[in-house]
Symmetry: C2
Subunit: 311 residues, 2 copies
């Protein structure tokens, strides 16, 4: 698979941790395999949902290498590699390219705020130049609610013009359909993923490539079904079902809630663990989340996971 062909439903993969907070590689491999079996076209490891920035550089590099060694095809891996420092970003990016990943997902540097497009352009430019690999393909990662550093159209245009064929796409996790729509209109030559399953149908209708959204960790089949059948009569219905699940989860901390649901789904308490600074769900939130999910008929216990939204 080449970067130009990247499209579909990509899961930003949750990262399981052992009691000592180390990365639980067997569970991660298993989860990657399950997500592909459930219909994901590929896997975004080390994104926000993966708690990537809570992993050390060494852990990210070693885990990516180990995933490929464990048989997860590198052609199906789109790793997050963006860090605040250019050399660290270059290091992870080079490793990803060397392993055969079709592209990387690159955050802007997120420590300094209000730095301006010139500095952000130079950051990406310097990183791309230093990575220095003709096989490098970059997806820009716009998630301003977390980074507080956004990627506006002028910057995207400048990067695309300077690095055409390398800067090939955007993940828009703004959660703002108006922003996604503007990107789709302004950059028909870029591969645009929405980060919000609530915007999946609109994104596909607007010519977008697909979705990279956290809910794929627990609801991949339903998301894939909408992706496959978005031109059909019941597309709005499928979209509404996705929205319902998102709304049920929305009041709670996202990664903790998803890990709890996955833990319940797999009957595996080991999944119910996050790294600081995140915290696991409180008992009260757990009860409220499960009540929300029960109220919409979303199955939370037992295998196989066969609720109405999930075939």
């Amino acid at each position: 698979m080449t970067a130009a062909a990247l499209c579909g439903v990509w899961a930003p993969v949750l990262t399981p941790f052992r009691r000592d907070l180390s990365v639980d590689l067997p569970r991660l491999v298993n989860h990657c395999q399950r997500l592909l079996a459930e219909g994901c076209h590929g896997l975004v490891v080390f994104g926000t949902t993966s708690e990537a920035n809570s992993l050390s550089l060494d852990e990210r590099e070693e885990t990516l290498t180990a995933l490929v060694a464990a048989g997860i095809p590198s052609a199906l891996l789109l790793p997050g590699t963006g860090n605040c420092a250019i050399p660290d970003t270059v290091r992870l990016t080079r490793r990803a390219v060397a392993l055969g990943c079709p592209a990387v997902l690159m955050l802007p540097p997120f420590y300094f705020k209000a730095v301006g497009d010139e500095g952000l352009f130079r950051f990406y430019a310097e990183t791309i130049e230093r990575a220095g690999d003709p096989n490098l393909r970059v997806f820009l990662y716009h998630i301003p609610s977390v980074t507080q550093v956004g990627l506006g159209p002028a910057l995207i245009e400048r990067l695309r013009d300077a690095y055409g064929g390398i800067v090939v796409g955007i993940k828009d996790s703004s959660g703002d359909w108006n922003n996604t729509r503007a990107l789709l209109e302004a950059f028909p030559d870029l591969t645009i993923f929405t980060g919000s399953e609530g915007n999946l149908l609109a994104t596909l209708r607007g010519g977008g490539a697909g979705i990279i959204s956290a809910a794929a960790n627990i609801n991949a089949r339903a998301i894939r079904r909408l992706y496959d059948r978005w031109r059909e009569a019941d597309a709005e219905e499928m979209q509404a079902a996705l929205n319902q699940i998102r709304q049920a989860i929305k009041p709670f901390p996202l990664m903790a809630a998803l890990k709890l649901i996955l833990s319940a789904r797999l009957d595996d308490g080991e999944w119910n663990r996050v790294r600081p600074p995140l915290s696991e769900m409180t008992a009260g939130d757990t009860h409220a989340l499960f009540a929300n999910l029960a109220s919409i008929g979303f199955p939370i216990k037992g295998l196989p996971f066969t609720g109405p939204m999930l075939d």
Copy 2:
């Protein structure tokens, strides 16, 4: 010097870069020596002013080691070691303690926002436990305008209670005197530095330990003079002079402006370089900054640096 004795004027040291953006160690050593000669009690390397988060982990570890090897006493170095990931923070912290630094300055993890005190407490607790050194002393680094992750009084109290003798102080870079005053009142047993030279006199009057402020890079003597003579009749006048310089610089990007001023002061264009995502001052901003400084009689050309604020 022990961490309990830390007080006075500490400079958050600017980091010089070569044309290839590598750390210019000889210039950094020279700047550290100059700051100590100008009256700084110690040096905060790898803080926000140092563009620390634009340096790789390896660079920070190697540069700290090299500074000590070059003869900068580790007892006078308070390095920033906070990263988003626990293992990376532990790594830099251990190195600092092993080198003999009296304490480290520790940012909260700053990728995720709105994580809550429980997660922040666990981050610091886990980091301290893993560093596992009885000589470790930690200053909490509160700089919410940059991190967007603040350290409130409840969290500070919990950390102090759990790690008394290890969590020994706070750098308050909120720029908000009300916050500094509240900390001084609530935590008389902690060593509290203000990060704003505008609050220096008030901080000292309130029982604070001193200051860690970017302006020390270009105005150490004047800051030190106020620190030494804050009980004297002309203290308000000295404070007003510091404020005037701060106001002259305030409209401009801080690190770029300070490097430009240092560059002019030393007649050394090599200092006028920042790492992306920061950008150097534009020609227009340079002109405006120099006009501001000229209007208050602050010397910007030539050596020695002998303006009215600087002896």
